[in-house]
């Protein structure tokens, strides 16, 4: 079957009442999560997974819901960047640079519409890219054996955080922490309890959803308490902003298209690269566009191309990041790791087998994403005014909602208060780790991928009867190990430079 027949099949899956409704709900929730500073795509998806699992949604349905949330958050993140100069989520940081100046000039409506269009271009292009590239990657992945998969997992960890990663030792530390969590429980290969201290609750291991929700949702609340100012009246300078002239002239829209296309291409590839993710996607798109088009020194002062490029970039990166997650089962970013966790909870192992055994999930998802983008464009252009009201919801009301939904979700999975206590433990741990500047995404990836990683390693060594050289015996694995090595060495050379320029933008932003 060719791609279009498959997509047609996917449309049959996507265009059922249930799935259309889920995509709508996902897009709406996603835009809200994205718009709210303090909640991003990863948190949003994280607190929804236990819920969708408890609701008994099947793989295709939950994937459609959660991927719509992911895409929606990528759209929504720009709203607070543009209006109040606070990025709604991390990738939207670059949008503040030209977006907020536009607001100050009274062009907020124009900025919101143009970025929505750029987001749309980025997301559609990357979904098309996903549609064509993922099956190609699957063909390669079909040749992978356990040794190659083990190498691939090591690569995912080694390249995590990409060139901008702060500190390789800390990333490795965090990853091992997550992996250590995954080793608790009965050993899948030989059936002996391991590191469970004789506690029956630990025999099943620690559900990675507990780790995810604790670290992504509860730790956020603790951070909020810490950063909260005493008796603060939350600033509502945002009330003064009027959003009028939502529809810019046709010529203006044409003007941002080249920038959006460039941003989309760069963002998509940044998304595919292991460990780069959407933040890097928007960063690369912005800096590239600035180098190319900043002839009259208009960037940073409200240039429309300066908002279009990073928005197209971060939306395209979201689609790009789905490529390795779906076709190899190796996530490159926090949000895709969380999506992967959802599939694994439903006993579906992403990777080439997903495309063979569950084509409905993959193609239904792709079709739903196309549909979702039109919904999002509609939500984010004519209805954008209503989303700005979301920003008025103070965090002191938002945070209790997040906490309660987290508890409901985790309790819904197992019905045990032991899991709730574990979730609280990981929430506190996440807070402490964040204080020490230890990234949480590797911890989460470790807890999700740990058992797969160990299984593949042990299968490979069973095949070779314990001979370790087998891990490096095929050309494919040698290539993967060399990429891993590059991923470790390159940041040592370029890391400081990239980090400095990102920090520079962060500082000017503050």
């Amino acid at each position: 079957m060719n791609t279009f027949e498959l997509l047609l099949g996917g449309m049959k899956v996507a265009f059922t009442y249930e799935h259309i409704l889920l995509a709508l709900v996902g897009c709406l929730l996603g835009s809200i999560f994205g718009a709210l500073p303090g909640l991003g795509p990863a948190n949003g998806v994280a607190i929804l997974i236990p819920i969708s699992f408890s609701l008994g949604l099947d793989a295709a349905s939950s994937m459609i819901l959660l991927a719509s949330v992911y895409y929606g958050a990528m759209y929504g993140g720009r709203i607070s960047s543009i209006l109040i100069n606070i990025p709604g989520d991390e990738p939207a940081l670059m949008t503040t640079l030209d977006g907020y100046p536009m607001t100050k000039q009274g062009r907020a409506g124009e900025a919101l519409t143009l970025t929505a269009i750029a987001s749309f271009i980025g997301a559609v292009i990357s979904t098309i890219g996903l549609m064509f590239l993922a099956p190609q990657l699957v063909k390669i992945a079909l040749l992978f054996g356990p040794a190659e998969y083990f190498a691939l997992f090591v690569m995912a960890f080694a390249t995590l955080g990409g060139v901008s990663s702060n500190n390789k030792a800390k990333t490795a530390f965090a990853a091992c922490l997550g992996l250590a969590v995954s080793t608790i429980g009965i050993d899948g290969q030989t059936g002996v309890p391991r590191l469970s201290f004789g506690n029956v609750h630990f025999y099943d291991g620690i559900d990675f959803l507990v780790v995810i929700v604790g670290m992504f949702a509860l730790s956020e609340v603790l951070i909020f308490i810490e950063e909260k100012k005493d008796n603060s009246n939350e600033s509502n300078d945002f009330n003064k902003i009027k959003i009028d002239k939502i529809y810019p002239s046709f010529k203006t829209i044409i003007n941002i298209i080249p920038a959006s296309l460039r941003g989309s291409a760069l963002g998509f590839f940044a998304g595919i690269l292991p460990g780069a993710g959407a933040s890097l996607g928007s960063f690369i798109s912005y800096t590239f566009e600035k180098k190319l088009s900043n002839k009259n020194d208009t960037f940073g002062k409200g240039d429309i191309r300066g908002v279009a490029a990073p928005e197209a970039g971060n939306n395209a990166a979201a689609g790009g990041a789905m490529v390795p997650m779906l076709s190899l089962g190796v996530p490159g970013s926090g949000t895709t790791a969380v999506l992967l966790a959802m599939l694994m909870t439903l006993n579906i192992t992403p990777g080439p087998l997903l495309f063979q055994n569950n084509p409905d999930v993959v193609w239904g998802l792709i079709a739903a994403l196309f549909f979702g983008n039109f919904v999002l464009l509609f939500l984010n252009v004519p209805l954008v005014k209503y989303f700005t009201y979301v920003l008025l919801l103070p965090s002191r009301y938002l945070m209790p909602i997040v906490v309660m939904i987290s508890f409901v979700g985790i309790y819904g999975i197992s019905g045990s208060s032991f899991d709730l206590l574990l979730m609280i433990f990981f929430g506190v741990l996440g807070w402490i780790l964040r204080k020490f500047d230890i990234p949480l995404v590797p911890v989460i990836m470790g807890s999700i991928l740990g058992s797969l990683m160990e299984t593949n390693l042990r299968r490979a060594l069973t095949i070779s009867d314990g001979d370790l050289t087998y891990l490096f015996s095929s050309w494919t694995s040698i290539v993967i190990w060399s990429i891993t090595l590059l991923g470790l060495i390159l940041p040592l050379i370029y890391g400081d430079r990239v980090k400095k320029s990102i920090n520079k933008y962060k500082k000017t932003n503050k």
Partner: protein, 143 residues
């Protein structure tokens, strides 16, 4: 306080981790690699990176002042109490108390918090239990 202290704590944890992994009893089924070596591998990397943090601390951590610390401890206490009482008291009662307290401690006036807590617990019950059919904690009173 720097990451050195975290390094010291995790140095101990990784040694304990390796020790407990070594206590794993082997079964009659076995594979060439065995269930112990993967934890050893992780434990060793954890150990090395902890030492790295001890030798080369990079972050100066600023802990919140004592008032904030109390607030955080109180919040964790509310969470734990919620987790413990949920199966007995049921969803609506627990969620009402917990969300009221949390909203209040996050800086909302107390009466407003009560109203918010009540409406949150009732609307979540309606949404999740009645509309979506999710199994929430029933408790002794059945709701």
């Amino acid at each position: 306080m720097t990451d050195r202290s975290l390094g010291i704590v995790f140095l101990c944890i990784s040694v304990l981790y390796i020790y407990f992994a070594s206590q794993t009893e082997l079964s009659f089924i076995s594979d060439p690699f065995g269930p112990k070596k993967f934890p050893y591998l992780i434990g060793i990397i954890l150990l090395i990176t902890s030492i790295f943090m001890i030798l080369k601390p990079q972050v100066q951590v600023i802990w919140p002042n004592s008032k904030k610390t109390m607030e955080i401890i109180l919040m964790i206490f509310i969470f734990i109490l919620y987790a413990q009482l949920l199966p007995t008291l049921g969803f609506i009662i627990c969620t009402f108390f917990a969300s009221t307290l949390i909203t209040w401690r996050l800086g909302t006036p107390f009466t407003k918090s009560i109203i918010f807590g009540l409406s949150l617990s009732l609307s979540m019950y309606l949404l999740f239990s009645v509309v979506l059919g999710l199994s929430l904690a029933r408790g002794l009173f059945g709701f």
